[in-house]
Assembly symmetry: C2
Homo-oligomer: 258 residues x 2
Amino acid sequence: MVTQEQIEDFILNGHKDYVPHVSLDCAIFGYHEQQLKLLLIKHKAVDGWCLPGGYIKRTEKLVEAAARNVKERTGVDNLFLQQFKTFGDPNRAKFEEFDEEKWGQILGVKVSRNNWLIDQTISVGFYSITDFSRTVLQPDMMSIDCEWFDINNLPALEFDHDEMVREALHTMRIQLYHYPIGYNMLPEKFTLTEIHALYETLLGKKLDISNFPKKLIALGLLIKLDEKRSIGPHRSPHLYRFDKERYDEALKNGVVLS
Amino acid sequence: MVTQEQIEDFILNGHKDYVPHVSLDCAIFGYHEQQLKLLLIKHKAVDGWCLPGGYIKRTEKLVEAAARNVKERTGVDNLFLQQFKTFGDPNRAKFEEFDEEKWGQILGVKVSRNNWLIDQTISVGFYSITDFSRTVLQPDMMSIDCEWFDINNLPALEFDHDEMVREALHTMRIQLYHYPIGYNMLPEKFTLTEIHALYETLLGKKLDISNFPKKLIALGLLIKLDEKRSIGPHRSPHLYRFDKERYDEALKNGVVLS
Protein backbone atom coordinates (compact mmCIF):
# COMPACT_ATOMS: atom_id res chain seq x y z
CA MET A 1 0.00 0.00 0.00
CA VAL A 2 1.40 3.36 -1.04
CA THR A 3 0.90 6.15 1.48
CA GLN A 4 0.26 9.82 0.72
CA GLU A 5 3.60 10.55 2.37
CA GLN A 6 5.41 8.30 -0.12
CA ILE A 7 3.67 9.99 -3.05
CA GLU A 8 4.63 13.43 -1.76
CA ASP A 9 8.20 12.33 -1.19
CA PHE A 10 8.44 10.95 -4.74
CA ILE A 11 7.05 14.15 -6.25
CA LEU A 12 9.10 16.54 -4.16
CA ASN A 13 12.37 14.61 -3.71
CA GLY A 14 12.35 11.90 -6.37
CA HIS A 15 15.10 13.62 -8.36
CA LYS A 16 17.52 12.74 -5.55
CA ASP A 17 16.92 8.99 -5.91
CA TYR A 18 16.12 8.83 -9.62
CA VAL A 19 18.01 10.16 -12.65
CA PRO A 20 16.05 13.21 -13.81
CA HIS A 21 15.33 13.84 -17.53
CA VAL A 22 15.36 10.13 -18.36
CA SER A 23 12.32 7.87 -18.17
CA LEU A 24 11.50 4.47 -19.47
CA ASP A 25 8.32 3.18 -21.06
CA CYS A 26 7.39 -0.48 -21.34
CA ALA A 27 5.24 -2.03 -24.03
CA ILE A 28 4.17 -5.18 -22.18
CA PHE A 29 2.43 -7.57 -24.56
CA GLY A 30 0.15 -10.27 -23.24
CA TYR A 31 -0.78 -13.49 -25.06
CA HIS A 32 -3.37 -16.09 -24.20
CA GLU A 33 -5.47 -18.41 -26.41
CA GLN A 34 -4.94 -16.55 -29.66
CA GLN A 35 -5.45 -13.11 -28.20
CA LEU A 36 -2.75 -10.42 -28.12
CA LYS A 37 -3.13 -7.62 -25.61
CA LEU A 38 -1.17 -4.60 -24.43
CA LEU A 39 -0.94 -3.34 -20.87
CA LEU A 40 -1.96 0.31 -20.37
CA ILE A 41 -2.14 2.54 -17.33
CA LYS A 42 -4.13 5.61 -16.45
CA HIS A 43 -2.14 8.32 -14.68
CA LYS A 44 -4.00 10.09 -11.88
CA ALA A 45 -3.48 13.54 -13.35
CA VAL A 46 -3.31 12.80 -17.09
CA ASP A 47 -6.51 12.12 -19.03
CA GLY A 48 -6.30 9.08 -21.29
CA TRP A 49 -4.14 5.97 -21.33
CA CYS A 50 -0.35 5.52 -21.49
CA LEU A 51 2.23 2.79 -21.50
CA PRO A 52 3.45 1.85 -18.03
CA GLY A 53 6.87 3.23 -17.25
CA GLY A 54 8.91 5.01 -14.67
CA TYR A 55 12.29 6.34 -13.72
CA ILE A 56 15.71 4.85 -13.23
CA LYS A 57 17.12 4.77 -9.72
CA ARG A 58 20.58 6.31 -9.48
CA THR A 59 21.82 2.94 -8.20
CA GLU A 60 20.20 0.87 -10.98
CA LYS A 61 21.24 -0.26 -14.41
CA LEU A 62 18.80 0.68 -17.14
CA VAL A 63 17.72 -2.90 -17.73
CA GLU A 64 17.24 -3.44 -13.99
CA ALA A 65 14.89 -0.46 -13.87
CA ALA A 66 12.88 -1.88 -16.78
CA ALA A 67 12.72 -5.35 -15.18
CA ARG A 68 11.57 -3.79 -11.88
CA ASN A 69 8.79 -1.87 -13.66
CA VAL A 70 7.54 -4.89 -15.59
CA LYS A 71 7.59 -7.03 -12.44
CA GLU A 72 5.74 -4.38 -10.40
CA ARG A 73 2.95 -3.99 -12.99
CA THR A 74 2.40 -7.69 -13.85
CA GLY A 75 3.56 -9.58 -10.75
CA VAL A 76 5.59 -11.82 -13.08
CA ASP A 77 9.33 -12.17 -12.83
CA ASN A 78 12.05 -12.81 -15.36
CA LEU A 79 10.12 -11.98 -18.51
CA PHE A 80 11.71 -11.57 -21.90
CA LEU A 81 12.73 -7.91 -21.98
CA GLN A 82 14.25 -6.04 -24.86
CA GLN A 83 15.22 -2.43 -25.44
CA PHE A 84 13.77 -1.31 -28.78
CA LYS A 85 14.36 2.44 -29.15
CA THR A 86 14.99 5.64 -27.22
CA PHE A 87 12.65 8.55 -27.84
CA GLY A 88 13.82 12.15 -27.63
CA ASP A 89 11.88 15.08 -28.99
CA PRO A 90 11.24 18.41 -27.25
CA ASN A 91 7.57 18.06 -28.26
CA ARG A 92 6.98 14.51 -27.05
CA ALA A 93 5.12 15.82 -23.99
CA LYS A 94 3.14 19.03 -23.95
CA PHE A 95 4.35 20.84 -20.84
CA GLU A 96 2.57 24.05 -21.80
CA GLU A 97 -0.68 22.21 -21.05
CA PHE A 98 0.48 21.32 -17.53
CA ASP A 99 -2.20 22.34 -15.07
CA GLU A 100 -0.58 23.13 -11.71
CA GLU A 101 -3.87 23.46 -9.88
CA LYS A 102 -5.35 20.22 -11.24
CA TRP A 103 -2.23 18.22 -10.32
CA GLY A 104 -2.20 19.77 -6.85
CA GLN A 105 -5.83 18.84 -6.22
CA ILE A 106 -5.54 15.31 -7.55
CA LEU A 107 -2.21 14.41 -5.98
CA GLY A 108 -2.74 16.27 -2.72
CA VAL A 109 0.59 18.08 -2.98
CA LYS A 110 1.67 21.26 -4.72
CA VAL A 111 3.45 20.37 -7.97
CA SER A 112 5.23 23.46 -9.22
CA ARG A 113 5.95 24.11 -12.87
CA ASN A 114 9.66 23.52 -12.28
CA ASN A 115 9.10 20.17 -10.54
CA TRP A 116 11.43 17.47 -11.91
CA LEU A 117 8.43 15.47 -13.19
CA ILE A 118 7.29 18.37 -15.40
CA ASP A 119 10.52 18.75 -17.37
CA GLN A 120 11.83 17.51 -20.68
CA THR A 121 12.47 13.77 -20.65
CA ILE A 122 14.15 11.33 -22.98
CA SER A 123 12.51 7.95 -22.73
CA VAL A 124 14.00 4.52 -23.29
CA GLY A 125 11.50 2.03 -24.74
CA PHE A 126 11.50 -1.62 -23.69
CA TYR A 127 9.12 -4.35 -24.75
CA SER A 128 8.23 -7.48 -22.87
CA ILE A 129 5.80 -10.35 -23.31
CA THR A 130 3.85 -12.56 -20.94
CA ASP A 131 0.80 -14.82 -20.64
CA PHE A 132 -1.84 -12.29 -19.56
CA SER A 133 -3.91 -14.94 -17.78
CA ARG A 134 -1.14 -15.36 -15.21
CA THR A 135 -0.61 -11.70 -14.33
CA VAL A 136 -1.73 -9.80 -11.25
CA LEU A 137 -1.94 -6.19 -12.33
CA GLN A 138 -0.92 -3.35 -10.07
CA PRO A 139 -1.03 0.36 -11.01
CA ASP A 140 1.99 2.44 -9.95
CA MET A 141 1.71 5.08 -7.25
CA MET A 142 0.93 7.81 -9.80
CA SER A 143 -1.80 5.81 -11.56
CA ILE A 144 -5.41 4.89 -10.87
CA ASP A 145 -5.81 2.02 -13.30
CA CYS A 146 -3.87 -0.67 -15.12
CA GLU A 147 -5.63 -2.88 -17.72
CA TRP A 148 -5.08 -5.22 -20.66
CA PHE A 149 -6.40 -3.91 -24.00
CA ASP A 150 -6.87 -5.95 -27.15
CA ILE A 151 -4.08 -4.97 -29.57
CA ASN A 152 -6.67 -4.39 -32.31
CA ASN A 153 -8.75 -2.12 -30.16
CA LEU A 154 -6.37 0.28 -28.43
CA PRO A 155 -7.44 3.76 -27.38
CA ALA A 156 -5.39 6.70 -28.72
CA LEU A 157 -2.53 7.02 -26.23
CA GLU A 158 -1.07 10.10 -24.55
CA PHE A 159 2.32 11.68 -25.40
CA ASP A 160 4.26 9.81 -28.15
CA HIS A 161 3.06 6.42 -26.91
CA ASP A 162 1.21 5.51 -30.13
CA GLU A 163 4.54 5.74 -31.94
CA MET A 164 6.21 3.72 -29.19
CA VAL A 165 3.65 0.92 -29.57
CA ARG A 166 4.16 0.83 -33.36
CA GLU A 167 7.93 0.58 -32.93
CA ALA A 168 7.66 -2.01 -30.16
CA LEU A 169 5.31 -4.21 -32.21
CA HIS A 170 7.57 -3.88 -35.25
CA THR A 171 10.66 -4.90 -33.28
CA MET A 172 8.88 -7.76 -31.48
CA ARG A 173 7.60 -9.14 -34.79
CA ILE A 174 11.09 -9.19 -36.31
CA GLN A 175 12.68 -10.63 -33.19
CA LEU A 176 10.14 -13.47 -33.07
CA TYR A 177 12.33 -15.10 -35.69
CA HIS A 178 15.52 -14.56 -33.69
CA TYR A 179 14.58 -15.32 -30.08
CA PRO A 180 12.29 -17.98 -28.59
CA ILE A 181 10.13 -15.12 -27.34
CA GLY A 182 7.07 -17.35 -26.97
CA TYR A 183 8.82 -19.53 -24.41
CA ASN A 184 6.64 -18.81 -21.39
CA MET A 185 3.37 -18.69 -23.31
CA LEU A 186 3.18 -22.35 -24.30
CA PRO A 187 3.45 -25.60 -22.32
CA GLU A 188 6.98 -26.99 -22.25
CA LYS A 189 6.14 -29.39 -25.08
CA PHE A 190 3.65 -28.15 -27.62
CA THR A 191 2.10 -29.14 -30.92
CA LEU A 192 2.66 -27.42 -34.23
CA THR A 193 -0.94 -26.15 -34.07
CA GLU A 194 -0.25 -24.42 -30.74
CA ILE A 195 2.93 -22.63 -31.76
CA HIS A 196 1.46 -21.77 -35.14
CA ALA A 197 -1.49 -20.07 -33.40
CA LEU A 198 0.89 -18.17 -31.09
CA TYR A 199 2.99 -16.89 -34.00
CA GLU A 200 -0.04 -15.94 -36.10
CA THR A 201 -1.48 -13.99 -33.18
CA LEU A 202 1.77 -12.19 -32.31
CA LEU A 203 2.46 -11.37 -35.95
CA GLY A 204 -1.15 -10.39 -36.63
CA LYS A 205 -1.24 -12.33 -39.90
CA LYS A 206 -1.83 -15.77 -41.38
CA LEU A 207 1.19 -18.04 -41.81
CA ASP A 208 1.51 -21.00 -44.15
CA ILE A 209 1.62 -23.90 -41.67
CA SER A 210 3.57 -26.19 -44.01
CA ASN A 211 6.72 -24.02 -44.14
CA PHE A 212 6.39 -22.56 -40.67
CA PRO A 213 8.18 -25.17 -38.51
CA LYS A 214 11.02 -25.60 -41.03
CA LYS A 215 11.89 -21.93 -40.74
CA LEU A 216 11.97 -21.96 -36.92
CA ILE A 217 13.95 -25.22 -36.86
CA ALA A 218 16.42 -23.82 -39.41
CA LEU A 219 16.84 -20.71 -37.25
CA GLY A 220 17.68 -22.93 -34.30
CA LEU A 221 14.70 -21.79 -32.21
CA LEU A 222 12.60 -24.93 -32.31
CA ILE A 223 13.42 -28.57 -31.65
CA LYS A 224 11.21 -31.37 -33.01
CA LEU A 225 10.88 -34.12 -30.39
CA ASP A 226 10.68 -37.84 -30.94
CA GLU A 227 7.39 -37.78 -29.03
CA LYS A 228 3.71 -37.42 -29.84
CA ARG A 229 0.68 -36.27 -27.91
CA SER A 230 -2.35 -38.55 -28.13
CA ILE A 231 -5.48 -36.44 -28.55
CA GLY A 232 -7.84 -39.05 -30.00
CA PRO A 233 -8.04 -42.04 -32.28
CA HIS A 234 -5.71 -41.52 -35.26
CA ARG A 235 -4.77 -38.09 -33.86
CA SER A 236 -1.34 -37.93 -32.24
CA PRO A 237 0.55 -34.86 -33.44
CA HIS A 238 4.30 -34.52 -33.00
CA LEU A 239 5.55 -32.45 -30.11
CA TYR A 240 8.09 -29.60 -30.25
CA ARG A 241 9.94 -27.55 -27.69
CA PHE A 242 11.91 -24.31 -27.72
CA ASP A 243 15.67 -24.40 -27.55
CA LYS A 244 15.94 -23.31 -23.92
CA GLU A 245 19.65 -22.60 -24.12
CA ARG A 246 19.09 -20.07 -26.84
CA TYR A 247 16.30 -18.51 -24.79
CA ASP A 248 18.48 -18.18 -21.70
CA GLU A 249 21.19 -16.64 -23.82
CA ALA A 250 18.66 -14.17 -25.19
CA LEU A 251 17.43 -13.34 -21.68
CA LYS A 252 20.99 -12.76 -20.51
CA ASN A 253 22.06 -10.81 -23.55
CA GLY A 254 18.72 -9.09 -23.98
CA VAL A 255 20.74 -6.43 -25.67
CA VAL A 256 21.71 -8.39 -28.76
CA LEU A 257 19.91 -7.37 -31.92
CA SER A 258 19.57 -10.10 -34.48
CA MET B 1 37.18 28.80 -33.79
CA VAL B 2 35.99 28.11 -30.29
CA THR B 3 36.84 30.84 -27.73
CA GLN B 4 37.69 30.33 -24.06
CA GLU B 5 34.51 32.25 -23.29
CA GLN B 6 32.41 29.71 -25.20
CA ILE B 7 34.09 26.82 -23.37
CA GLU B 8 33.43 28.45 -19.99
CA ASP B 9 29.84 29.16 -20.93
CA PHE B 10 29.30 25.52 -21.98
CA ILE B 11 30.81 24.21 -18.75
CA LEU B 12 29.04 26.61 -16.41
CA ASN B 13 25.69 27.11 -18.18
CA GLY B 14 25.38 24.24 -20.66
CA HIS B 15 22.64 22.59 -18.61
CA LYS B 16 20.33 25.46 -19.58
CA ASP B 17 20.66 24.75 -23.32
CA TYR B 18 21.21 20.99 -23.20
CA VAL B 19 19.24 18.21 -21.50
CA PRO B 20 21.32 17.18 -18.47
CA HIS B 21 21.86 13.50 -17.57
CA VAL B 22 21.55 12.36 -21.20
CA SER B 23 24.42 12.17 -23.64
CA LEU B 24 24.95 10.52 -26.96
CA ASP B 25 27.93 8.62 -28.29
CA CYS B 26 28.58 7.98 -31.95
CA ALA B 27 30.48 5.03 -33.39
CA ILE B 28 31.44 6.55 -36.75
CA PHE B 29 32.86 3.85 -39.01
CA GLY B 30 35.04 4.78 -41.97
CA TYR B 31 35.63 2.63 -45.04
CA HIS B 32 38.09 3.10 -47.89
CA GLU B 33 39.87 0.57 -50.12
CA GLN B 34 39.29 -2.47 -47.94
CA GLN B 35 40.13 -0.74 -44.68
CA LEU B 36 37.62 -0.27 -41.85
CA LYS B 37 38.35 2.45 -39.31
CA LEU B 38 36.66 4.00 -36.30
CA LEU B 39 36.73 7.66 -35.33
CA LEU B 40 38.02 8.40 -31.83
CA ILE B 41 38.52 11.60 -29.89
CA LYS B 42 40.77 12.61 -27.01
CA HIS B 43 39.06 14.73 -24.37
CA LYS B 44 41.18 17.53 -22.96
CA ALA B 45 40.83 16.37 -19.36
CA VAL B 46 40.38 12.61 -19.77
CA ASP B 47 43.39 10.41 -20.47
CA GLY B 48 42.86 7.95 -23.29
CA TRP B 49 40.50 7.79 -26.24
CA CYS B 50 36.70 7.84 -26.44
CA LEU B 51 33.93 7.77 -29.00
CA PRO B 52 32.88 11.21 -30.15
CA GLY B 53 29.61 12.33 -28.65
CA GLY B 54 27.84 15.18 -27.02
CA TYR B 55 24.64 16.45 -25.54
CA ILE B 56 21.15 17.04 -26.86
CA LYS B 57 19.96 20.63 -27.16
CA ARG B 58 16.64 21.21 -25.45
CA THR B 59 15.25 22.29 -28.83
CA GLU B 60 16.55 19.25 -30.75
CA LYS B 61 15.23 15.80 -31.51
CA LEU B 62 17.57 13.01 -30.48
CA VAL B 63 18.36 12.05 -34.07
CA GLU B 64 19.05 15.69 -34.95
CA ALA B 65 21.59 15.92 -32.13
CA ALA B 66 23.32 12.77 -33.42
CA ALA B 67 23.35 14.06 -37.02
CA ARG B 68 24.80 17.37 -35.83
CA ASN B 69 27.58 15.59 -33.92
CA VAL B 70 28.51 13.33 -36.84
CA LYS B 71 28.50 16.29 -39.24
CA GLU B 72 30.64 18.43 -36.90
CA ARG B 73 33.30 15.70 -36.46
CA THR B 74 33.53 14.49 -40.08
CA GLY B 75 32.45 17.49 -42.17
CA VAL B 76 30.15 15.12 -44.07
CA ASP B 77 26.41 15.59 -44.20
CA ASN B 78 23.49 13.20 -44.46
CA LEU B 79 25.27 9.99 -43.48
CA PHE B 80 23.51 6.77 -42.66
CA LEU B 81 22.74 7.07 -38.96
CA GLN B 82 21.18 4.47 -36.75
CA GLN B 83 20.42 4.27 -33.05
CA PHE B 84 21.74 0.95 -31.74
CA LYS B 85 21.37 0.91 -27.95
CA THR B 86 21.08 3.13 -24.90
CA PHE B 87 23.56 2.61 -22.09
CA GLY B 88 22.63 3.20 -18.47
CA ASP B 89 24.69 1.97 -15.55
CA PRO B 90 25.65 3.93 -12.42
CA ASN B 91 29.21 2.66 -12.92
CA ARG B 92 29.64 3.54 -16.59
CA ALA B 93 31.75 6.55 -15.67
CA LYS B 94 33.93 6.72 -12.58
CA PHE B 95 33.03 10.04 -11.01
CA GLU B 96 34.97 9.24 -7.85
CA GLU B 97 38.13 9.63 -9.93
CA PHE B 98 37.14 13.13 -11.06
CA ASP B 99 40.03 15.52 -10.39
CA GLU B 100 38.65 19.01 -9.81
CA GLU B 101 42.05 20.65 -9.84
CA LYS B 102 43.23 18.94 -13.03
CA TRP B 103 40.06 19.87 -14.92
CA GLY B 104 40.33 23.46 -13.68
CA GLN B 105 43.93 23.77 -14.86
CA ILE B 106 43.33 22.18 -18.24
CA LEU B 107 40.05 23.88 -19.08
CA GLY B 108 40.89 27.24 -17.54
CA VAL B 109 37.70 27.35 -15.53
CA LYS B 110 36.72 25.97 -12.14
CA VAL B 111 34.70 22.77 -12.63
CA SER B 112 33.05 21.90 -9.33
CA ARG B 113 32.16 18.38 -8.32
CA ASN B 114 28.46 19.14 -8.76
CA ASN B 115 28.90 20.55 -12.26
CA TRP B 116 26.33 19.15 -14.70
CA LEU B 117 29.11 17.51 -16.74
CA ILE B 118 30.28 15.47 -13.72
CA ASP B 119 26.98 13.77 -13.01
CA GLN B 120 25.40 10.43 -13.89
CA THR B 121 24.53 10.19 -17.55
CA ILE B 122 22.55 7.76 -19.67
CA SER B 123 23.97 7.64 -23.14
CA VAL B 124 22.23 6.90 -26.42
CA GLY B 125 24.46 5.08 -28.92
CA PHE B 126 24.27 5.83 -32.65
CA TYR B 127 26.40 4.39 -35.40
CA SER B 128 27.20 5.93 -38.73
CA ILE B 129 29.40 5.08 -41.68
CA THR B 130 31.33 7.12 -44.22
CA ASP B 131 34.23 7.03 -46.67
CA PHE B 132 37.09 8.14 -44.42
CA SER B 133 39.09 9.55 -47.33
CA ARG B 134 36.45 12.26 -47.82
CA THR B 135 36.21 13.48 -44.22
CA VAL B 136 37.67 16.64 -42.68
CA LEU B 137 38.06 15.85 -38.99
CA GLN B 138 37.37 18.41 -36.30
CA PRO B 139 37.67 17.78 -32.53
CA ASP B 140 34.86 19.21 -30.40
CA MET B 141 35.48 22.10 -28.00
CA MET B 142 36.27 19.75 -25.12
CA SER B 143 38.77 17.65 -27.13
CA ILE B 144 42.32 18.03 -28.33
CA ASP B 145 42.38 15.34 -30.98
CA CYS B 146 40.17 13.41 -33.38
CA GLU B 147 41.62 10.55 -35.45
CA TRP B 148 40.74 7.45 -37.48
CA PHE B 149 41.94 4.15 -35.96
CA ASP B 150 42.08 0.81 -37.74
CA ILE B 151 39.23 -1.33 -36.38
CA ASN B 152 41.67 -4.18 -35.72
CA ASN B 153 44.03 -1.98 -33.78
CA LEU B 154 41.92 0.09 -31.40
CA PRO B 155 43.28 1.34 -28.09
CA ALA B 156 41.35 0.41 -24.94
CA LEU B 157 38.66 3.09 -24.66
CA GLU B 158 37.52 5.13 -21.66
CA PHE B 159 34.20 4.63 -19.82
CA ASP B 160 31.98 1.88 -21.33
CA HIS B 161 33.02 2.75 -24.87
CA ASP B 162 34.62 -0.65 -25.59
CA GLU B 163 31.20 -2.23 -25.02
CA MET B 164 29.57 0.45 -27.17
CA VAL B 165 31.91 -0.32 -30.06
CA ARG B 166 31.16 -4.06 -29.78
CA GLU B 167 27.42 -3.41 -29.84
CA ALA B 168 27.69 -0.89 -32.68
CA LEU B 169 29.76 -3.28 -34.81
CA HIS B 170 27.35 -6.12 -34.08
CA THR B 171 24.32 -4.04 -35.09
CA MET B 172 26.02 -2.61 -38.20
CA ARG B 173 26.98 -6.09 -39.35
CA ILE B 174 23.41 -7.38 -39.05
CA GLN B 175 21.93 -4.31 -40.67
CA LEU B 176 24.28 -4.58 -43.65
CA TYR B 177 21.81 -7.19 -44.91
CA HIS B 178 18.81 -4.94 -44.36
CA TYR B 179 19.91 -1.48 -45.47
CA PRO B 180 22.10 -0.36 -48.40
CA ILE B 181 24.54 0.96 -45.79
CA GLY B 182 27.43 0.89 -48.27
CA TYR B 183 25.69 3.37 -50.55
CA ASN B 184 28.09 6.29 -50.25
CA MET B 185 31.24 4.16 -50.15
CA LEU B 186 31.11 2.84 -53.70
CA PRO B 187 30.73 4.53 -57.09
CA GLU B 188 27.10 4.73 -58.28
CA LYS B 189 27.61 1.64 -60.45
CA PHE B 190 30.03 -0.95 -59.14
CA THR B 191 31.29 -4.42 -59.89
CA LEU B 192 30.67 -7.50 -57.85
CA THR B 193 34.34 -7.47 -56.82
CA GLU B 194 33.97 -3.96 -55.37
CA ILE B 195 30.88 -4.60 -53.29
CA HIS B 196 32.22 -7.98 -52.21
CA ALA B 197 35.38 -6.29 -50.88
CA LEU B 198 33.28 -3.67 -49.06
CA TYR B 199 31.11 -6.32 -47.39
CA GLU B 200 34.06 -8.51 -46.44
CA THR B 201 35.80 -5.52 -44.86
CA LEU B 202 32.74 -4.30 -42.95
CA LEU B 203 31.90 -7.81 -41.77
CA GLY B 204 35.51 -8.63 -40.94
CA LYS B 205 35.27 -12.06 -42.57
CA LYS B 206 35.55 -13.86 -45.88
CA LEU B 207 32.36 -14.29 -47.91
CA ASP B 208 31.70 -16.85 -50.61
CA ILE B 209 31.52 -14.66 -53.72
CA SER B 210 29.28 -17.05 -55.63
CA ASN B 211 26.29 -16.78 -53.28
CA PHE B 212 26.93 -13.23 -52.17
CA PRO B 213 25.07 -11.21 -54.84
CA LYS B 214 22.06 -13.56 -54.86
CA LYS B 215 21.46 -12.87 -51.18
CA LEU B 216 21.61 -9.08 -51.56
CA ILE B 217 19.42 -9.19 -54.69
CA ALA B 218 16.90 -11.43 -52.92
CA LEU B 219 16.81 -8.97 -50.00
CA GLY B 220 16.00 -6.18 -52.45
CA LEU B 221 19.16 -4.19 -51.69
CA LEU B 222 21.05 -4.71 -54.92
CA ILE B 223 20.01 -4.34 -58.55
CA LYS B 224 21.94 -6.08 -61.33
CA LEU B 225 22.24 -3.77 -64.33
CA ASP B 226 22.14 -4.67 -67.99
CA GLU B 227 25.52 -2.97 -68.33
CA LYS B 228 29.16 -3.98 -68.11
CA ARG B 229 32.38 -2.16 -67.35
CA SER B 230 35.20 -2.80 -69.79
CA ILE B 231 38.45 -3.23 -67.87
CA GLY B 232 40.53 -5.06 -70.47
CA PRO B 233 40.38 -7.61 -73.23
CA HIS B 234 37.93 -10.38 -72.28
CA ARG B 235 37.32 -8.62 -68.94
CA SER B 236 34.02 -6.77 -68.71
CA PRO B 237 32.29 -7.53 -65.43
CA HIS B 238 28.59 -6.81 -64.90
CA LEU B 239 27.65 -3.67 -63.04
CA TYR B 240 25.34 -3.40 -60.04
CA ARG B 241 23.79 -0.54 -58.12
CA PHE B 242 22.07 -0.17 -54.75
CA ASP B 243 18.32 0.25 -54.64
CA LYS B 244 18.34 3.96 -53.84
CA GLU B 245 14.66 4.09 -52.93
CA ARG B 246 15.21 1.56 -50.21
CA TYR B 247 18.19 3.54 -48.98
CA ASP B 248 16.21 6.78 -48.79
CA GLU B 249 13.47 4.97 -46.95
CA ALA B 250 16.07 3.65 -44.50
CA LEU B 251 17.57 7.12 -44.05
CA LYS B 252 14.13 8.60 -43.40
CA ASN B 253 13.01 5.82 -41.10
CA GLY B 254 16.47 5.35 -39.59
CA VAL B 255 14.58 4.02 -36.62
CA VAL B 256 13.30 0.83 -38.19
CA LEU B 257 15.00 -2.33 -37.04
CA SER B 258 15.02 -5.12 -39.56
